[in-house]
Symmetry: C2
Subunit: 284 residues, 2 copies
């Protein structure tokens, strides 16, 4: 499945390579294997930010010559921290049907799996269209100050967070009255970058852990798995021509060391672009 031709390598390198996100999610065919590099720019507590790891894995699928259609749904399992340096990406086509293609990607370092992804791509065709969900209200993007950089972890600097509800305010102990797990924010890359499937997937992991919002403090956490459904294909995203999304996130239960987290990403024009859910490990 691995193309070693110059053509394939060029395809993998396409896009705005000047942007930190494109540099961070770059993949290349090296010595007959696909390879990526853990991004220092997007480093988190114990490894690169999971959103960027996921986007890198999605990019390697899109670099396959037989890749058709656009990402429809993606599940990434983050098994272990990705260490600094390079990693290998093994891509396997699982099944092709008339309208969908199923893929699997394994990310490994020193022969040990650190993450894996399953993805469905689809060639989407016009159909009956209906959006029962309504976009949450928000003042204009420019009317809200971006969150100042907390200096806690590098990846946060790569985004502008403009909170509408649930602005983070963390102390050194759990707050007396628990806060809401719900928050809502405008989000964009910093510097800004036109939204595509790769950045949308990464943005699905930018919601701060719900437990931080509820307890008002930072505790050890980690995303175990994240599933994202794309409600827009490449043509839809091109029509939106946007660099920002409105993101809303919530959680329903924290129990025995794990919680859920759900999220929605909306275009400024009111279209639901992606919905996401993840399972988060926490220590509290």
């Amino acid at each position: 499945m691995l193309g070693k031709t110059p053509e394939t390598t060029i395809k993998a390198a396409a896009g705005n390579t000047a942007h930190p996100f494109d540099r961070a999610t770059q993949v290349a065919a090296v010595e007959g294997r696909w390879r990526g590099t853990a991004s220092e720019d997007y480093f988190a507590f114990v490894g690169p930010f999971g959103g960027v790891t996921a986007a890198t894995m999605l990019r390697v699928i899109m670099a396959q010559p037989e890749c058709a259609g656009d990402p429809l749904t993606v599940t990434v399992n983050l098994c272990a921290p990705v260490a600094r340096g390079t990693f290998d990406l093994a891509v396997r086509p699982m099944k092709a049907t008339r309208s969908t293609r199923h893929w699997m990607v394994e990310l490994s370092q020193d022969g040990e799996v650190a993450a894996f992804m399953t993805a469905v791509f689809a060639v989407r065709r016009p159909s009956w269209s209906h959006q029962p969900a309504t976009m949450p209200s928000a003042p204009l993007f420019d009317s809200i100050e971006p969150l100042p950089d907390s200096g806690v972890t590098p990846w946060v600097k790569q985004y502008q967070f403009r909170f509408v509800e649930g602005t983070p305010s963390y102390g050194n102990a759990p707050r007396e009255t628990l806060g809401s797990a719900y928050s809502r924010m405008w989000l964009s890359d910093a510097p800004s970058r036109r939204i595509d499937a790769l950045s949308l997937l990464s943005m699905c992991d930018t919601f701060f852990a719900r437990i931080f919002h509820v307890r008002g403090e930072i505790v050890p956490i980690g995303t175990v798995t994240m599933t994202t459904m794309f409600h827009a294909d490449a043509a839809d995203l091109a029509e939106e021509r946007t660099t920002m999304v409105l993101g809303a996130a919530d959680a329903r239960r924290f129990h025995k060391g794990f919680s859920d987290q759900t999220g929605e990403l909306w275009s400024p024009g009111g279209r639901l672009l992606a919905t996401t859910s993840q399972t988060v490990y926490f220590k509290a």
Copy 2:
């Protein structure tokens, strides 16, 4: 990874084998391979009901000698209809960490993948516990008449559906005013069976397609992928001692042939047991 010892086969065959659900999800080690059989009792339009296929794949993980902990999160991709007869199940441990184990299962017939699952198991330990979500209101289970069997498809007979909101009423054409995508129901196996992780996973796929509720008609649909998070481990479920759950489901966008579907399963005592999301193909 395949145990051929009598011990393993017995473990795979454990549980109440008299119940149709346990018969339908049975797995056995035959000639050095794990094998299941597409259940006629749970047949749907073009293959066995996806919930039962998923439960069978989860059962084969639980039958592995090195399986530890309880299911935490499961994603199943249904790539192609499973045909009548037997299927092979290949199980692969992807990664073990201190507290979690990642698995993959492939279901194939005649060497072609029809479905695959990734799953995370965890040994769950006491922690801070908090449930921001509240159980939707519902009259008592017994006070609602079960949905009469429509005769549309066999698997529906295997459950009792007692609708609180959004009782199905389908015609032969889309209704003039679109209905709500939201519905809520009591659900139990028929005959009743104590809820465990296997039946909970299957129940996550019992919500009728949201497009049926919205348009008031049955159109061709298929689950492409379903992700479920378990908020209760085996000890929690044993404590609940229940045969019924309150299920609520919704959808946010129907667009270019696919929609999302989200669901929650609640214990009668008000505990959130599982949350689920799926991507559904539709023709309309």
